[in-house]
Each structure stands twice: as structure tokens, then as C-alpha cells.
């Protein structure tokens, strides 16, 4: 490329720049109709001219669905967004930074209005729920440190719940709550639990974060969303039982339920913990009892008996599976046995659930079935193996046949050809 051509290009570029700058100026000076036709309002920037001085807030607001629905700066902050003159812009009903105490009420102006929310199919009970929540109750008492809407949803960059970047998307909820309920000064000052750290060690967190199970419970699943409150001790089985239905059914059928309620012992939590729920481990059938009962109590023995039942059944099933593997190596037709082992494992899993009755007889009703299926499979397979060995006796017949044939052939061989 020659030097002249390069120079010509630079000229062209400069001209283009000058033109675009003029266009920008023209756009800036054009009047922005705020009360004009609906079409005109959609095309204007929601931030109005506030964004000229508050670009960060403007960018944040425009990332939010609020911006598309014509929620403007002035909707929350008041003032006039048609001008960059500070006096006029910050005049009138301008509130400045919204006071924490008034945030919930302010959001409720729209979000509690059924007529306005109906088109979006959004609930309108958040404000009412919030007022019932521990957060709301404390706020009403003048505690300014508690969470308000903007603490969880953000102030300007409020995203829809379904947006994975949203602070209130299921996988982000623990972190959002953890901003206060984690390892913070707030938690230390108020002597409340570091629930976030506990939750991260739980099987629920493992399901949610490691296995991507979106149905795994987060903070809000048990405590409620806007009406966040710790569940009462009496309600714990109900809360856990929402997902662990069968466990709850068995638990209520057992003697623990009534006694624990009487003594105000937190039912599920007493064995499983609350935020740091562990994955189910069989050995806990026996070891858990000593959390409440004295060592050597007859109740502790019940736990040991349940564990015993379980383990016996498990060994039988394991043995059956080993035999199936052997049969597979032959290979024999074992598909039915695979299905039956699966069935036995189902009984075993049910036995674990039934253990919530803390009655060994109930557990045994399942483990016995599991055991008998395991033993049945073992019996049948051993029988099949024995049959297979028996069929090798056919070899004897075969050899008899071979020997007779040999005899005939020898006779032919040794016969002199007739002359």
C-alpha cells in the first residue's frame, strides 16, 4: 500500500468520525417525550437523561427486565429525567437514595398491585409475606440491618428468577442468603448460626452444586421465600416431609413422633442435623441412638437390631449378585436375576425408610423380603450351576460313542483286503 493511499484512508476515517459525532449531538438535543404516545415511550431509554450523570446505574437498570417494562429511574427515585439540569432533575418529588426502611413499601407499590402484576403472572403477596417474615418483623421494629427486597434482588440490576445470573436463581440462593447468614460480622454480632457454611457441607448442597439437581432444596425451600422464618420445632417433620414423604409417614407411625413433640425435641433434626444434613448412612441406624439415649438403654439395642437386620439382608443380596456375576461369565441367561436383585434392593431401600419408625419389626418386614429374594436367587443359581455340571455327564455318552467308533475303525483297518 502506498503512502498516498494510506493518507486518503485516514481522511475518510476522520470524516466519518465527524459525521457520527454530529449525529450523536443531534440525538442528545432531541426532546425525549415522557408523556407522549406509548410507542414513543418504548423507544426512549428508560433511564431518561439521568444516565448522563449516573452511567453505572443506567447500565445496571438496562440489564434488568424492569427496563423493558418501562420502570424508569423516576418511578422509584422521583424527580425529572428529561433534563440534565441538576436543579430541575433533582427537584419535585425527588427522593434521592431510597431509605432502606421504605424499600419494601416502595416495591410493593407495583408488586402488590394485582392489576399491574396480572399480565406478568407474578404473585402479589410478597409484601404481605415479607411483613410476616422475621426480616419484616424486625424491620417494623426499626432494625435497619435486616434484609429488604434489594438485598436479595439487587437495586437496579434486578433479574428474573429464571435467569441463571439472577441472585435468586436456585443455585445462587445459598450464596445470596450467605451474604448475611454466612461468615459475616453481622452473624457474629447477633450470635446467629453460620448456616451458609453448614449448608455447603450438606447432601442437599452436594445434590444442587455437584450433581446439578435443581430440585434439591436451598434455604428458601424450608424457610420460605419472602416470608422467611425458621420453622417451628413442631413443624419440622412437615417441612422435611414435603420431599421425604415416606420417611415422615413412617416416623409418625413410630413412637418417636409423639414423645419428641411432647419434649419439644426437633424431630428430624435430632438425628440428621438441620443445615448440614448428611447423606443416608446405614451405620447411623445404630450410632444415632446414643445422641439422645444413654448407652446400654434398651432403645439403643433396637437400633443395633435394625442395623443387624439390614446387614444380613445386604450380605444375602451381595452373595446373590456375586453368583449372578459368575453366571454372566459363563454366560448364562441371568436377566431375570438382575431384575430380581433390583427388586431386593428396592426392599432394602424401603427398609431404610421404614427405620424411621424405630421398630425393628417394621424394618424386618422389608429386610426379610429382601433377604428371601436374595436367598431365592442364590438357590436357583446354585441349582442351575449343579445342572450345568450334570450336563457334562453327556461327555461319558460321547466317549462311549467315540470308543465304539474306534473299535469299528480298527476292525476295518486290520481286515485283510480280500483277494
Amino acid at each position: 500500500m502506498s503512502a498516498r493511499a494510506g493518507f486518503a484512508r485516514m481522511l475518510a476515517l476522520a470524516a466519518a468520525l465527524a459525521l457520527s459525532a454530529e449525529a450523536a449531538r443531534a440525538a442528545a438535543t432531541a426532546p425525549v417525550p415522557i408523556t407522549g404516545s406509548r410507542v414513543g415511550r418504548i423507544v426512549t431509554p428508560t433511564a431518561g437523561r439521568c444516565g448522563v450523570c449516573h452511567p453505572t446505574e443506567r447500565v445496571a437498570l438496562e440489564s434488568s427486565p424492569h427496563a423493558r417494562e418501562d420502570v424508569r429511574c423516576t418511578s422509584c427515585h422521583g424527580g425529572d429525567d428529561t433534563t440534565t439540569d441538576e436543579k430541575r432533575a433533582h427537584g419535585g418529588d425527588f427522593t434521592g437514595k431510597v431509605d432502606r426502611g421504605t424499600v419494601p413499601r416502595m416495591c410493593a407499590r407495583c408488586h402488590a398491585d394485582e392489576k399491574r402484576m396480572r399480565p406478568y403472572d407474578l404473585p402479589v403477596d410478597q409484601y404481605a409475606l415479607y411483613q410476616q417474615s422475621r426480616h419484616g418483623q424486625l424491620l417494623a421494629k426499626g432494625d435497619r440491618q435486616v434484609a429488604v427486597c434489594s438485598d436479595c434482588h439487587g437495586a437496579h440490576d434486578i433479574l428474573a428468577v429464571a435467569d441463571p445470573a439472577s441472585r435468586v436463581y436456585p443455585t445462587n440462593i445459598p450464596r445470596t442468603c450467605g451474604r448475611c447468614h454466612g461468615d459475616t460480622t453481622l452473624v457474629r454480632q447477633r450470635h446467629i448460626k453460620n448456616a451458609y457454611a453448614d449448608y455447603l457441607t450438606s447432601v442437599h448442597a452436594h445434590q444442587l452444586f455437584d450433581l446439578g439437581n435443581m430440585r434439591a432444596p436451598t434455604c428458601v425451600s424450608c424457610h420460605g421465600v419472602h416470608g422467611a422464618t425458621p420453622p417451628d420445632v413442631a413443624d419440622i417433620t412437615k417441612v422435611c416431609g414435603r420431599c421425604h414423604t415416606t420417611e415422615r409417614r413412617y416416623f409418625i407411625a413410630g413412637p418417636h413422633a409423639a414423645k419428641m413433640a411432647e419434649n419439644n425435641v426437633p424431630a428430624c433434626i435430632a438425628c440428621h442435623g438441620n443445615h448440614a444434613v448428611e447423606a443416608s448412612v446405614v451405620t447411623r441406624l445404630a450410632s444415632n441412638c446414643e445422641k439422645c439415649h444413654e448407652k446400654g438403654d434398651p432403645q439403643v439395642a433396637l437400633g443395633a437390631r435394625m442395623l443387624d437386620e439390614y446387614k444380613t439382608a445386604q450380605t444375602e443380596i451381595d452373595k446373590a449378585e456375586k453368583l449372578i456375576a459368575e453366571a454372566d461369565a459363563v454366560p448364562m441367561q441371568t436377566e431375570d436375576y438382575h431384575a430380581r436383585v433390583e427388586e431386593a434392593r428396592t426392599y432394602l431401600r424401603e427398609a431404610m425408610t421404614a427405620a424411621h419408625t424405630v421398630q425393628p419389626e417394621v424394618v424386618a418386614s422389608f429386610t426379610l423380603r429382601a433377604r428371601s429374594v436374595g436367598e431365592e436367587i442364590q438357590d436357583e443359581l446354585t441349582h442351575k450351576f449343579a445342572n450345568a455340571r450334570m450336563s457334562k455327564l453327556g461327555l461319558v455318552v460321547f466317549w462311549f460313542y467315540v470308543l465304539v467308533t474306534l473299535g469299528i475303525l480298527r476292525r476295518y483297518r486290520n481286515r485283510r483286503p480280500r483277494a
Binding site: P331, V402, L406, R418
Partner: protein, 385 residues
């Protein structure tokens, strides 16, 4: 067949038995003797066949020619190479009726053959045991030919064909082992391929033929084609050469066995052959029934079971590749040279006895064999762990 030996002036007026009548009818339309003479190339008859005469007369002549009663047992190995191959061919064709050489189909179809198809297990186990025996036979045959110095003139071609048969059988085993595509076969083939690929020139060539350095579905398909078409053809050529040399230069007769007075007939010989075949078959059936090979689940390319190792005849090579210091191609080159020296060195020493005497050659061979045994044992007990 031996009816032709006596036909005392039956005369044309006597009607022929029906089977000979059928032969005579066919003979007017096609030269049956010619077809028969092709068959004799695969170890049935060692004497030349006069293709101009009708089959009945040609066979009468063969039957009438006295055969030298030779020492039986060493030569039986040559016969076994043909017999076992016939067994492998028959069972192999039967297996191929149900086998699918695809990634998902290979194991499932093999399992289906063994488990669901009536007597499928029997065909499969016979094929497996026959292969084991065949390897033993071709290897022993090379050993015995070396020991009896059958590489000397005029048997150089016989020697080379024996070594070639051994090579082809090992290739057949290598490709055939992969076909069930179960865990053991997959990983032992993988280890085997590592050894092959470490060799210069030959390694790249074989991986080119197989279509890769690792076992994939593509390699499986090519192994299948090699196993059922290419290698068996090579093997047939080898057998043809083997028996062709015999018709030209006769059987090897050890000094003490060649008593011309001790003559036998073709009929007797053929019956011996049948008796031997029957015993072999019975032995194989017994092995296949009492000691069947087991399956270990379908191949999973994503998890290596512990202690994977190549087939037993590659264990020594595997030990060398694993333990020899320095770059991998040195071990490969060593293996390649060792492999090439098997057919060439004896021939070379026969030409240059002053450079490499016979006793030296034997001592060297024994030493090499001992090293091979030790390395195989090391491979079996150390590398596998």
C-alpha cells in the same frame, strides 16, 4: 474308496454300484480327477495323481502304491496344521453366521451365540480350544523342524512356509482374540498393539493395515476381515506350499524309520488318519466341555481393569517393551530382529557352516528359547501385577 483295489474281471455286463455309476455319469461331464488332485494338495495324498485317467482308476493306482511306513508322531504335526485348520474353518463359518463386527454388536452377538443359540457354546468353545491347539502345533512344528534340521536343502521352502504358517496363526490369534470385544480381549489386544507399534517399519505397517494405534470399532472391523478372509487365504497358501514340497521331495524320513520293507497302504494310512482325527476331536470336545473360556463383560474403552496384559505368546515381548531402558524403538528393533532371525539364521548357517556351525546354532537357539521362557515368566508374574 478302496473298492477299486479289487475288481476281478467283473466285466462291463455287471452293473456298477450306484455311487460309482454317479461318478461315471459326472466324469463324462467334468474332470473329477483334476478336482481330486487339487484336494490332494491339502494333505490327503502325497503321491502324484494322473489327471488324465478317470477318478476310479487314479484312486485304484493310489491305493495300490505301497506307502513307506514312516515315523508317525513327528510328522503328525504337519497333518494337524491342516486338520485343525479345517476345524477352525468349519466352526468359524458357523460363528460368522451370528457374529456382528460392530462396537455394540460384537460382545452382544458373541454372548448371544454362547448363551442363547442352541449348541452355540459348543461351537464357540471348540473354535477357541482349536485355536489354542493350533498355536501349539505350529510352534512345535517349527521347533521340531529346526531340531531335525529340516531347513537344509532341499527343504528351505518347507522351512520358510512353516515359519510363515506360524506367523499367520499368531496373527489369526491376535485378530481373533479381539473379536468377542469383551474386557479381557479388548485390553490384551490393546497391549499387543502397543508391542507391535513399537517396532520400526513393521509397526507402522501393521497399524496402517489395522487402521489405528488404538483399538477402535474400525480396527475391530478390519480385524474381522483379516481374520475371516485375508489370513485364512494366506494360511491356505502356506498349507499348499507345505504339501507341494512333500509331493516333490517326499516326507522327511528319519534314519531309523525308513524301512521300505515295512510298507503300508493308502487305505490303512487313511484309516489311521481318521482314527487320529476322531481322537483329536474327542479330546477337543472334552476340553471345550470341561474347561470352557469365560466372559468378563463388554469392553469399556474408558476404564482399564487392573493387570491388563497381552496374549501369553506376547508376554516376553511385553516385558522387553516395558523394562528395556532407552527409547521405545530400541526394544521394538530388538523384537523385530529376533523375529526375522527365526527363518533366516538357520538358512544362513546351512549355507555358511564354517561361519556358524550347527552345534553353535543349536546352542544359540536353546539360549534364546531359555531367555524367552524367562521373560514370559517375568511377564506373567511381575508385569501383570
Amino acid at each position: 474308496m478302496s473298492t477299486t483295489t479289487q475288481d476281478p474281471q467283473g466285466g462291463p455286463q455287471k452293473p456298477l454300484p450306484w455311487h460309482w455309476a454317479a461318478v461315471a455319469w459326472l466324469e463324462q461331464r467334468i474332470n473329477l480327477t483334476e478336482i481330486f488332485s487339487i484336494l490332494t494338495s491339502f494333505g490327503i495324498v502325497y503321491t502324484p495323481v494322473d489327471t488324465r485317467r478317470p477318478l476310479r482308476e487314479a484312486m485304484a493306482e493310489i491305493g495300490a502304491t505301497p506307502l513307506v511306513s514312516y515315523a508317525r508322531w513327528p510328522q503328525v504335526l504337519g497333518l494337524l496344521t491342516a486338520l485343525l485348520f479345517a476345524l477352525e474353518a468349519v466352526t468359524g463359518v458357523l460363528l460368522a453366521f451370528y457374529y456382528h463386527p460392530t462396537g455394540e454388536g460384537a460382545y452382544a452377538s458373541t454372548e448371544g451365540i454362547v448363551r442363547d443359540i442352541p449348541l452355540g457354546w459348543f461351537i464357540h468353545q471348540m473354535h477357541d480350544w482349536g485355536a489354542y491347539l493350533l498355536i501349539a502345533v505350529v510352534v512345535l512344528r517349527v521347533v521340531r523342524m529346526f531340531w531335525h534340521r529340516l531347513y537344509l536343502a532341499p527343504r528351505e521352502v518347507l522351512w520358510v512356509s512353516a515359519v510363515m504358517l506360524m506367523w499367520v496363526v499368531l496373527q489369526l490369534d491376535f485378530t481373533g482374540r479381539l473379536l468377542p470385544y469383551d474386557v479381557t480381549s479388548y485390553w490384551s489386544a490393546m497391549r499387543g498393539l502397543e508391542i507391535v507399534c513399537s517396532q520400526p517399519v513393521v509397526g507402522p505397517f501393521i497399524s496402517f493395515v489395522l487402521g489405528g494405534h488404538v483399538i477402535t470399532e474400525n480396527v475391530l472391523l478390519r480385524s474381522y476381515v483379516l481374520h475371516v478372509v485375508v489370513l485364512p487365504l494366506l494360511y491356505l497358501i502356506g498349507i499348499y506350499v507345505t504339501f507341494g514340497t512333500m509331493r516333490r521331495i517326499g516326507l522327511s524320513v528319519p534314519a531309523e524309520g525308513g524301512d521300505p520293507a515295512n510298507a503300508t497302504t493308502w487305505r490303512k494310512h487313511t484309516l489311521d488318519f481318521v482314527i487320529f482325527q476322531l481322537l483329536l476331536f474327542a479330546g477337543l470336545v472334552t476340553l471345550a466341555t470341561l474347561l470352557p473360556f469365560r466372559f468378563h463383560g463388554p469392553a469399556d474403552p474408558y476404564s482399564t481393569p487392573p493387570g491388563t496384559h497381552p496374549a501369553w505368546y506376547l508376554l516376553s515381548a511385553y516385558t522387553i517393551v516395558q523394562y528395556l531402558p532407552g527409547p521405545g524403538w530400541i526394544a521394538g528393533l530388538l523384537l523385530l530382529l529376533a523375529g526375522l532371525s527365526v527363518p533366516i539364521v538357520p538358512l544362513w548357517s546351512a549355507r555358511n557352516p564354517q561361519r556358524l556351525s550347527d552345534t553353535r546354532l543349536r546352542q544359540g537357539a536353546i539360549a534364546l528359547f531359555a531367555v524367552w521362557c524367562v521373560l514370559t515368566l517375568v511377564g506373567a508374574f511381575v508385569v501383570r501385577k
